[in-house]
């Protein structure tokens, strides 16, 4: 990590895991030759990423009257957002308060979150839910349905009050459904699918003034100039740090971190990742996939090889994950088909509440169906899976990074959760900070289109050479390394 000037992160901060550090230190994918033939385009606001944060940002910026381009690596909606199961937090209950939500979030993050960001997050909560309902999102209701029925609230690990709102256990899918519809119907938003960002553009003053995209279908580079760029590229689970399986979607390859860092943006907590305690270890075809925390919220127990419960299932995720790893390390795990884990006692749960599978745990039902087994009769084997990138680009409460003109929202940003995230706070974050970044980016003066270039890349290449670091590795990765993809070869073909 020597090449990276110490000023870019807090002094003495633990370094990121080596594979991530290597990506951050790698050379750019493109050079000036790629720019020379690039097709120029313009937008008032450019959003990178087609998940929840990107959609919310695009809607806010377009709502403020700006022409928005949303470019995404896969297709609109292919994201971690659609995979979210458990739900979203917002302090709307009678016994709840913004203060409770604030305290829970800070405590859950071991007091390492940025309190200004947390304040913003929890205050936005109720309005975010109202906004989502306005877009047409369905939430589960309390039993006595009908007019005036209240939203059903569940308790999440690490919280003092039931605060999770959900749509069955496919909350992210439902959320993305309405977001995608709104984005695609908006006259001022142009969606560009399969157009990953491969580099940012900088002006002489070091501000971000656009990005270079690669259009996979037409095999060409696009030079997109825009006075404001919003990074909403999500996380990095597909790096499989520490050899862990991951719950993340295919596009989670830390691209946003690489681009922001090369431009000089400050990043934080890059050594901190969340391992979801209940990733599937067996059946094998589902390995790495997730069993929603909703299952534990509903009352399912974790049981070790001796048939004992060993932890309060509703403690914060890092604690539960650590407990499972400890059981396994100390020989109390269960091995099946060569995979080690502990039991998630769905038969016990479903014996106590037989209708759950049809009502609240439809995601679990589908999962079991895919693997061809019956969770009423057989328990899943679970083990921690790489789930969430806690750290990311440092932002202010408006979502702006330390680089003027560059915003970040969602999993790519850092500070909202500190070093551990509570369930349900990510979905709240992407809407809250996505909209903030969008609105703030929309307020940047439009006239100031700068031509933009990649002088920051040249500076970076000089720094690499000066530090004696290899210049052959190139990033962003774009696709996981088991799906080898060479941008250069693709573009040359």
């Amino acid at each position: 990590m020597r090449a990276i000037p110490a000023t870019r992160g807090p002094r003495g901060a633990p370094p990121p895991p080596p594979p991530l550090a290597a990506l951050l230190q790698s050379n750019a994918l493109l050079d000036d030759a790629a720019l020379a033939g690039a097709t120029p385009l313009r937008a008032d606001v450019l959003v990178l990423g087609g998940g929840g944060a990107g959609a919310a940002a695009a809607l806010a910026a377009a709502g403020a009257g700006r022409q928005v381009i949303l470019a995404t690596k896969l297709r609109m909606g292919d994201s971690n957002t659609v995979m979210a199961e458990g739900g979203i937090q917002a302090a709307i209950g009678p016994e709840d308060s913004l203060q409770h939500h604030f305290d829970d979030t800070l405590r859950g993050g071991h007091n390492s979150a940025d309190p200004h960001l947390v304040k913003q997050l929890v205050t936005d909560g109720p309005a975010v839910i109202r906004w989502l309902i306005g877009l047409g999102m369905h939430f589960d209701l309390e039993k006595e349905a009908g007019l005036g029925a209240r939203l059903l609230r569940k308790k999440a690990g690490g919280t003092t009050v039931p605060r999770i709102l959900s749509h069955r256990d496919v909350t992210g899918l439902e959320m993305m459904r309405v977001l995608r519809e709104a984005v695609e119907l908006h006259p001022r938003i142009t969606v560009m699918n399969r157009c990953p960002a491969v580099e940012l553009l900088s002006d002489d003053a070091g501000a971000c003034v656009g990005a270079v995209l690669y259009d996979l279908e037409h095999r060409r580079f696009l030079l997109l100039r825009s006075p404001a760029v919003i990074l909403a590229t999500g996380g990095s689970g597909r790096l499989h740090l520490g050899g862990f399986p991951t719950s993340n979607h295919y596009g989670a390859t830390a691209d946003g971190l690489v681009l922001a860092y090369r431009m000089g943006a400050r990043l934080r907590d890059l050594d901190s990742f969340q391992y979801h305690p209940t990733g599937v270890a067996w059946p094998a075809p589902l390995a790495g996939g997730l069993i929603s925390e909703a299952v534990r919220s509903a009352g399912a127990w974790l049981v070790n090889g001796h048939g004992q419960r060993f932890v309060d299932e509703l403690l914060a995720r890092d604690i539960v994950a650590a407990a499972i790893l400890r059981e396994i390390a100390e020989g109390r795990g269960v091995t099946r088909g060569g995979r080690v884990g502990v039991f998630l006692d769905t038969p016990g749960l479903l014996a106590r509440q037989p209708d759950l599978l049809e009502t609240r745990l439809t995601g679990l039902k589908h999962l079991a169906h895919k693997a061809g087994f019956d969770p009423r009769r057989e328990p899943f084997l679970v083990a921690p899976t790489l789930h969430y990138q806690n750290g990311g680009a440092v932002i202010d409460p408006q979502g702006e990074t330390t680089i003027p003109g560059l915003y970040a929202a969602g999993e790519v940003s850092g500070g909202v959760h500190g070093r551990n995230r509570l369930m349900g706070n990510a979905l709240l974050e992407i809407i809250s900070f996505g909209r903030r970044a969008g609105a703030h980016a929309a307020a940047r003066p439009v006239a100031a289109y700068s031509r933009g270039g990649i002088e920051h890349v040249h500076r970076w290449q000089r720094a690499l050479a000066a530090a004696g670091l290899p210049r052959a590795p190139r990033a962003p990765l774009l696709y996981p390394d088991y799906a080898p993809f060479s941008l250069r070869q693709h573009a040359a073909a």
Partner: protein, 412 residues
């Protein structure tokens, strides 16, 4: 780097506003020599072959002599520190780090011309330079030097730091006068030359910051010493602002007449990522491009002119193979279009049209007609403005058309 031949950037002189330190390091000696024999100042500069570093390379002694001989009271000496064009970043360094060399050069100029005003005209975008120079001037004013100057001049000497308009055009010498007279920095036609009628109609000497910074050293060590610093027929040292696709961009002080090859490949550490050298925009960037064939050119005013280009401010923007020349030219023309003061219709509309056409061509949207229009503008526009802005803009465009026709071929 080798500090042997460094004068302006000599480490012991990089003091900021520290008059004591400057004097202790040998500063003030030039002024003492000048005070001892004011009549020898101009002949010494002539002997030293000091040239104007603001871009034109005009012999400094001639301007000084014209201002000295011009009849009139209340003469002005102006240090031009407006520096604003892409790729040039030398004057801001001198103003910030060796302000005393600059002021001392200005005092010697005042002595040689009999001026009553010394104005340090500095771009407010370089806030650190303005602040440092304010401190430096205050130190001179509080020192016994001012009284000695006034005794020698026989009248009071006013020293002022003035912030420029921050506009590129504000650096052109007649625009400097207009601004100091309290008007918008519009250039005007010459003659009358500033030496005849400048600020408040008084004879005015305007020199670039770097030009003035050389003066105390020349007066202190003598013309022969200065001449010997240069290579071949060239005299002294030059500040080169090296930028673009090189490993070590930066400000280099080298003997005047150092080859382009040496600047890029020795001092600049070679090309970025080992790419091939393609061309250089000299500062500017309003001059004819230098190409591979010119790598051996000696970077002094006369040798570069022999290659039909200009040394300009000593800015060298290096371009590698793979980088689009059209893109770079489009970028600079957009800068000139934004910088045009709008007074002369041919410049206002001309730079705008050039920029628009280049933008289309660069973006792959250009047509054969666009290219023809570009070429015909290059024929019509030169010489049509009050100042040199439009000529410089056309020179770069024309040079790119001429030197890199292949890049425009797709449009043809």
């Amino acid at each position: 780097m080798d500090t042997l031949n460094q004068v302006l950037l000599y480490p012991a002189f990089q003091l900021g506003a520290d008059l004591e330190g400057w004097l202790a390091a040998g500063g003030g000696q030039g002024l003492i020599a000048a005070l001892a024999e004011p009549a020898a100042i101009i002949p010494t500069l002539r002997e030293a072959d000091l040239r104007g570093m603001g871009g034109a390379g005009f012999p400094t002694w001639r301007k000084w002599q014209a201002a000295a001989e011009a009849p009139g009271a209340g003469k002005f000496v102006v240090c031009n520190g407006n520096e604003d064009e892409p790729g040039t970043f030398k004057d801001r360094h001198l103003l910030r780090w060796t302000p005393h060399a600059v002021v001392e050069g200005g005092l010697i100029a005042a002595l040689a011309t009999g001026a009553a005003h010394l104005v340090l005209y500095i771009n407010p975008h370089q806030a650190a330079a303005v602040a440092e120079m304010r401190r430096a001037v205050a130190q001179w004013q509080a020192s016994p030097w001012l009284a000695r100057m006034e005794r020698a001049l026989g009248h009071p000497l006013d020293i002022a730091v003035v912030e420029t308009s921050g506009r590129y055009i504000g650096g052109e010498e007649t625009a400097v006068i207009s601004w100091l007279d309290g008007h918008f920095p519009f250039p005007r036609r010459k003659p009358p030359f500033p030496a005849q009628s400048g600020v408040g109609r008084a004879p005015t000497l305007i020199n670039n910051t770097e030009t003035l910074a050389h003066v105390p050293h020349i007066l202190r060590h003598g013309a022969a010493w200065y001449r010997a610093l240069g290579i071949g027929a060239a005299a002294g040292t030059k500040l080169y602002s090296l930028s673009g696709d090189v490993m070590r961009p930066g400000l280099y002080e080298l003997p005047m007449g150092t080859s382009l090859q040496e600047l890029i490949f020795v001092h600049g550490g070679g090309m970025l990522e080992g790419r091939d050298f393609k061309a250089v925009f000299t500062g500017g960037p309003s001059n004819t491009l230098l190409t591979k064939r010119d790598l051996d050119v000696a970077l002094d005013f006369d040798s570069v002119r022999a290659r039909r280009s200009r040394l300009g401010t000593g800015a060298m923007i290096v371009i590698s193979e793979g980088t689009s020349i059209i893109r770079k030219v489009a970028e600079y023309i957009a800068f000139f279009a934004a910088g045009s003061c709008g007074q002369c219709p041919s410049c206002k509309a001309g730079t705008f049209q050039l920029a628009r056409l280049l933008d289309r061509i660069d973006g792959g949207r250009g047509t054969a007609e666009d290219l023809q229009a570009l070429e015909s503008l290059c024929r019509i526009l030169p010489g049509s403005g009050r100042c040199g802005l439009i000529d410089g803009a056309v020179t770069v465009v024309e040079s790119s058309l001429h030197t890199f026709p292949d890049e425009y071929a797709a449009t043809r």
